[in-house]
């Protein structure tokens, strides 16, 4: 018998789980359109790799992972890609994100499965890459890519989270009752990959059927299935670790550093499906409950629109909205046409009868009830005060980021203050500040590098100038000494004259080379090579060569002009016959474009000036 520990705080809210647990996991009719989001996981959104018009089958890869902190996305049903673009998301913001919209054909064709049945003999890196390519992410709500969580080594305990403590949600309950075998297989795979010494499943004792099913499935394995007392939020990772192992994860420490890692039962199920069946994550169990005619759990293809699901279970006429997640931690969806994502564990149709509007808030009286209820052992009333006053540094110092937003403080507050809303606000402000700070640091570094570069270029230029002027000065001095001061020591004179001679020779050589080049181009190269120019008389020798070069250049220009005219007048056949370089044909066109652009700019400027003068 395992010793269980208790965590601080916690509450016992009404469970409301019964209505949706009575019937087995259902399969609902397939929606005609599926909006499959590319941002279904923590990290970078996947990059879509299909185009509108593509035919896909169930399991076809439609989004490649972008980087390590990302996961793949697959087509949840066979059909045709209708569009790839921003579509509203199942997210409290109601923002749009890159989404692949599928039109389903109802034929349920399935892409060839690619299981990794020999995973035990593969390297851990291979298995992790395989999981990323199968889109396996944490289905408890965090949607953190599982392959990164499996990085852990030599774990003491692998904790399997079957607590499902939040009211209304029963998807893990039904999953454990009906598919316990697969969960156990997934847990054993994860346990092997992380080298866990023991695997412990924690299930709240309000789910006796799930407990029995899991215990039956785990018989004969090294897994231990433990019933834990029902208390919200025992399903929080840190809380469950505390209950099962007695370890408290301190602020700023990862659980793996303490030898524990926690996986949700849904995650392990999809992991086992991927490894053993080659089935990528294309659907999940969703609890559909609240103000509906037939509350149930259904295996829903990802991307199924929320309003389609709500219609399928008969959302009541007086329902005024839909919550994604539970009543404690979930949030109201602003757009019901959005498709469900891997994080959607529960959809609750709200109605004024089920969720009466909260009483108006009163001022905080610092009664401390929230601190007694807080499972993270924080001081919610202080955090509330700091968040309200925008003292984010203080909120941070009071360990705001240990808050799991469980909502226990909200529900015990006698003044009915929406505390978690303040914490969420403060957290997102701090994240935004952090992002801005990082951007500012990068900009500062780039600006400083630019200034340094400009400085360096300036210095180089100045150095070159100084060298040039020094050389000029030296030459001038030498000339001055050789002409005005004949009584100078004779040693410098030969040097000067030698230098002069050298310069002259170099100039002559350059002229000869130029002339030769011109002759080569104009086609009289044999003559030029036959007549090597005497270096002593460069000027006279250059004249005919230069003349020839100029003539050749003029001829070339004329030819170019003629050709351009021809090209423009449409006699392209002849133009292509002329083996002229393409640059010549492009020049007038580009010139015209530039002129047009400048004219446009001038016109625009004139217009704005007119507007301003008006």
């Amino acid at each position: 018998m395992r010793t269980l520990y208790d965590f601080h705080g916690g509450i016992h809210p009404p469970e409301n789980k019964l209505p949706s647990t009575t019937s087995p996991i259902a399969t609902l009719p397939l929606a005609p359109l599926l909006h499959v989001s590319m941002a279904q996981h923590t990290g970078n959104p996947a990059r879509p790799c299909v185009a509108p018009g593509d035919r896909v089958e169930r399991g076809t890869l439609i989004g490649r992972p972008d980087g390590t902190l990302s996961a793949a996305v697959h087509a949840p049903a066979s059909g045709t890609v209708v569009s790839v673009g921003p579509v509203v998301q199942a997210h409290p913001s109601g923002l749009c994100e890159l989404t692949v919209t599928l039109e389903t054909d109802g034929q349920d064709r399935r892409a060839a499965p690619t299981p990794l049945t020999d995973w035990a003999s593969r390297s851990e890196d291979e298995v992790r890459a395989f999981l990323a390519s199968m889109g396996v992410v944490g289905q408890g709500g965090g949607v953190f890519p599982s392959h990164l969580k499996l990085n852990a080594r030599a774990l003491e305990t692998l904790v399997v989270n079957g607590a499902e403590c939040e009211p209304y949600i029963t998807c893990d309950d039904r999953l454990m009752r009906e598919r316990a075998g697969r969960i156990v297989e997934g847990a054993l795979i994860a346990g092997t990959l992380t080298g866990a010494r023991e695997i412990v499943v924690g299930i709240e004792d309000n789910k006796p059927e799930a407990l029995a099913a899991m215990q039956a499935a785990a018989r004969g394995t090294r897994m231990e299935v433990v019933a834990i007392p029902t208390k919200y939020p025992s399903g929080g990772a840190k809380q469950l670790i505390r209950i099962l192992t007695g370890k408290k994860i301190p602020h700023g420490v990862r659980s793996t550093a303490m030898g524990v890692q926690c996986f949700n039962v849904g995650t392990l199920y999809s992991l086992a499906q991927a490894v053993l069946e080659g089935e990528p994550v294309v659907s999940r169990i969703v609890t559909l409950t609240g103000s509906v005619a037939r509350p149930l759990n259904a295996d829903v293809p990802l991307g199924t629109p929320v309003d389609w699901l709500m219609q399928a279970v008969g959302r009541s006429a007086d329902s005024d909205g839909v919550l994604m997640g539970g009543p404690m931690m979930g949030s109201r969806l602003p757009a019901l046409e959005a498709g469900i994502v891997k994080a959607t564990n529960c959809l609750i149709a709200t109605s004024p009868a089920l969720f009466p509007p909260p009483p108006l808030s009163m001022p905080c009286i610092r009664c401390g009830d929230c601190a007694n209820a807080c499972p993270a052992e924080l001081q919610p009333m202080d955090l509330y005060w700091f968040a309200r006053a925008r003292q984010f540094d203080k909120a941070r110092a009071w360990q705001l980021f240990d808050c799991i937003e469980c909502g226990a403080c909200n529900s015990v507050c006698p003044s009915a203050i929406p505390l978690v809303d303040y914490y969420r606000f403060a957290k997102s402000e701090i994240w935004a500040e952090e992002r801005e700070k990082q951007a500012a640091d990068r900009a500062r570094a780039r600006h400083e590098q630019r200034l340094a570069r400009i400085e360096h270029e300036k210095a180089l230029k100045a150095e070159r100038l100084a060298q040039k002027s020094a050389a000029a000065k030296a030459v001038a001095e030498a000339v001055a000494t050789s002409t005005t001061d004949p009584g100078k020591p004779p040693a410098s004179v030969p040097v000067d004259s030698a230098k002069k001679a050298a310069i002259e020779a170099a100039m002559a050589r350059a002229a000869a080379r130029k002339a030769e080049a011109a002759q080569t181009q104009s086609g009289v190269s044999p003559e030029a090579s036959a007549n090597p120019l005497p270096p002593a008389t460069p000027v006279t020798a250059m004249d005919p060569a230069k003349k020839a070069a100029i003539e050749a250049a003029m001829a070339r220009a004329a030819a170019r002009k003629a050709e351009a005219a021809q090209t423009q007048s449409g006699v392209s056949a002849e133009a292509s016959a002329n083996p002229a370089p393409p640059v010549t044909a492009m020049d007038p066109a580009k010139k015209a474009a530039i002129e047009a652009a400048m004219a446009r700019a001038a016109a625009r400027r004139a217009a704005t000036e007119q507007k301003e003068s008006r």
């Binding site: 606000f425 994240w431 600006h447 630019r450």
Partner: protein, 190 residues
Amino acid sequence: MTLLNALLLMAAVALILGAVLGYAAVKFRVEGDPLVEKIDALLPQTQCGQCGHPGCRPYAEALAEGRDTINRCPPGGEEGIRKLADLLNVEFLPYDGEVAPKLPALARIDEDRCIGCTLCLQACPVDAIVGAAKQMHTVIASECTGCELCLPPCPVDCIHMETVAPTLSTWKWQYPVVPLTPAPAGKRAA
């Protein structure tokens, strides 16, 4: 004798402490003005020059020397002024600059109209525009600070600013709006 001993002891102690202090003054010498660094860390580093100084650091230096007031930075916004007021221990001042503060935006080059003149490349304070002479230019969106310094030099007006829309990862929860509780009618009368 006792007096002499005491005097000698005190003198020795004074000498040792003096040596320690002197060594510390050399060893832990602070290069430059740390205040400028601190102010510069609070500025948004857009290098836009909208404060009237040729960049964020010159403005930080002006602030450190008391040559300017804290309310000149449009991209920093009210939050930035508040932080500067906290750091410099002065009163908060409402924004008073020449340019009206705008929403964060990124420059975007209309690539069909760009003639490849490189003038914007030279104007960008953070080298966030790539291109070469007679080649199309483009803005590296992740490095653009939205300073708008590339707009005036463009001879064909092919650069415009695009407001940054929030994404799922940059979206922020709003400040909770809590409805006020009206006082009961009876109490109000009394």
